[in-house]
Amino acid sequence: MTTFLLNHDEARLRIYKKTSMNKIKILFFATIKDKAGTKSIDLDIPNEMTIKQLKEKLAAEYPNLKESMKAVLMTINREYAFDEAVIPLNAEIALFPPVSGG
């Protein structure tokens, strides 16, 4: 019985992950902000979307950003993130060019 319940829950979780959406916040800075025309957007993305997939989605939905996607830095919850990274629930994502502080 316990085993059955566990399997059932796992199956439900799998379905949930496939069908539910992940609400994320995306922040833009510097050149990327200018091109996007906004500081930030809220976006619903499918669960288990990767950084690479998000880049492709943004390039498709924001033609102005397409060129910038080639050399953009991306972060997940304030840490640098790379193409294969899976975006966690309710993540704060940021996109920006190589930094130029000092």
């Binding site: 640098y80 060019p97 190589p98 930094v99 130029s100 502080g101």
Partner: protein, 152 residues
Amino acid sequence: MNFPTIYSITETEIDLNDLLAKITLSSTGAAAIFTGMVRGVTSRDTPHETIYLEYESYIPMAEAKMKQVADEIRQKWSSIEGIAIVQRIGRLYPKTPTVLIACTAAHRDTGVFEAARYGIDRLKEIVPIWKKEVGPKGEEWVEGDYFPKANE
């Protein structure tokens, strides 16, 4: 021993004396201070004039990365006592200090110069701050060329 570490993004004037006092301990005998300012006239590379720079930052991440830079300094130079890393943002005119990295130690021959140098180099690599340069011919974002690797 509790060594002071100061890291912040600020919109107000950088107070060198105040920061230096905060990272000076009774055991401190040396401080290396690097500060950068807005250069009005550039003759190297592409000569040009600057009216002002407009800085922006992803503040919470920038402060976390400044803390990381300070941690890296302490790992490399165990002699370092106090560390201050401060970046001013907003519209800044020529001759205005924009950034300050200060490291203190008991003596000057303990890596304190190298530590401050490392701090400013690292800030320019991984701390999310950008500047837009406004000159007589228009404005342009300055972009760095460093791509952080995993776990940076």
